[in-house]
Assembly symmetry: C2
């Protein structure tokens, strides 16, 4: 049985939030077929997604058509504020978590998990702009402002936007090996050197 | 007049090659409207683009419909091998370069510029897998294997996949200021911390 990784897409999702993990995990799936990894995108309903910076993407699956998955990546964006309190999203993420899915998030995606109760009593992080908000959601979330990502067992949260790349490499370490993560890191030439 | 930045999309383009610069430059455009930056995607023809890892994207413009642009981002992917020797692509990039466009590339996009003669006698870099190929294209290209990106004046090339993020931040430094690049860097929480 393959390990299936679903990346959630929704209107106004931040581009790099999902494209970073998609690149890392998709490269893993493509270049190491023996690892039996499948990566796909999934949206609540059919139709084109308009991302935060204007990119239009056609998801692979809808909630109804998607196969069962072992890992969920929930990206962020300013729009996730509107996911908080949304009962259908709460039900969807709770159902996935209850089924044993490894729940991961990038950026403000963590606030949606918090709202659904998935982070109660756990350490977590998110984009620096919504660290305070994260601490006010759920019950007794231990907010870690300085962590790039936080692996709390069945939930892994990461910091803002670009942190999803680091979190996805950690996923490979956790699900396969550090050597494999290094191989994928080399494929995407991830030796970051910010000029500022 | 706005500064217009076009990101070229084509079938089998590598996702992060274009999504990295798109995130950096799109954030710049969105959060600093006073800088008058416009970012759009452009493909040769109308229709959905299927990227290297399966993502389907609908470009904003075609070659015919796109407004004039000041900066071009040419991403890479294994598929750029098929762009080499393609006369319509050669003509399109030469026309842009001749018009004074600042030509930038990510990953193997540099090999297409090299094939079109844009890198003759200049320093350049590309994905480590095609550094040798880069040196065999064009005339007297000075291949720089250890640089994250190379600013050769009217052409800027960058290393593989994730290097487009660093190159795009450099573009902000060059076109605006280091302070602005730092502001955008902070918005995308780009404090990379690879776990391997």
């Amino acid at each position: 049985m393959p390990t299936r990784i679903a990346i959630f897409l929704f209107d106004q999702v931040e581009e790099l939030d999902f494209a970073g993990p998609l690149e890392v995990l998709g490269m893993w799936a493509l270049y190491f077929p023996g690892d039996e990894i499948e990566v796909f995108t999934v949206a609540q309903e059919a139709g084109t997604i308009s991302c935060a910076l204007g990119t239009r993407v056609i998801p692979d699956h809808t909630w109804d058509s998607a196969p069962d998955f072992d890992v969920l990546v929930y990206p962020g964006g300013v729009v996730t504020n509107s996911h908080i309190g949304n009962e259908s999203i709460r039900a969807w993420v709770r159902k996935a978590a209850d089924a044993g899915t490894l729940m991961t998030s990038v950026c403000s995606g963590a606030t949606v998990y918090a709202d659904a109760g998935l982070l109660d009593g756990k350490p977590a992080t998110t984009h620096w702009l919504v660290l305070d908000q994260l601490g006010q959601l759920g019950q007794n979330i231990e907010v870690r402002p300085d962590d790039r990502f936080v692996d709390a067992g069945n939930v892994i949260t990461s910091a803002g936007v670009s942190a999803g790349i680091d979190m996805a490499l950690h996923l490979i370490v956790r699900l396969k090996s550090a050597d494999r993560a290094r191989e994928v890191k080399r494929m995407i030439a991830y030796e970051p050197a910010p000029p500022v």
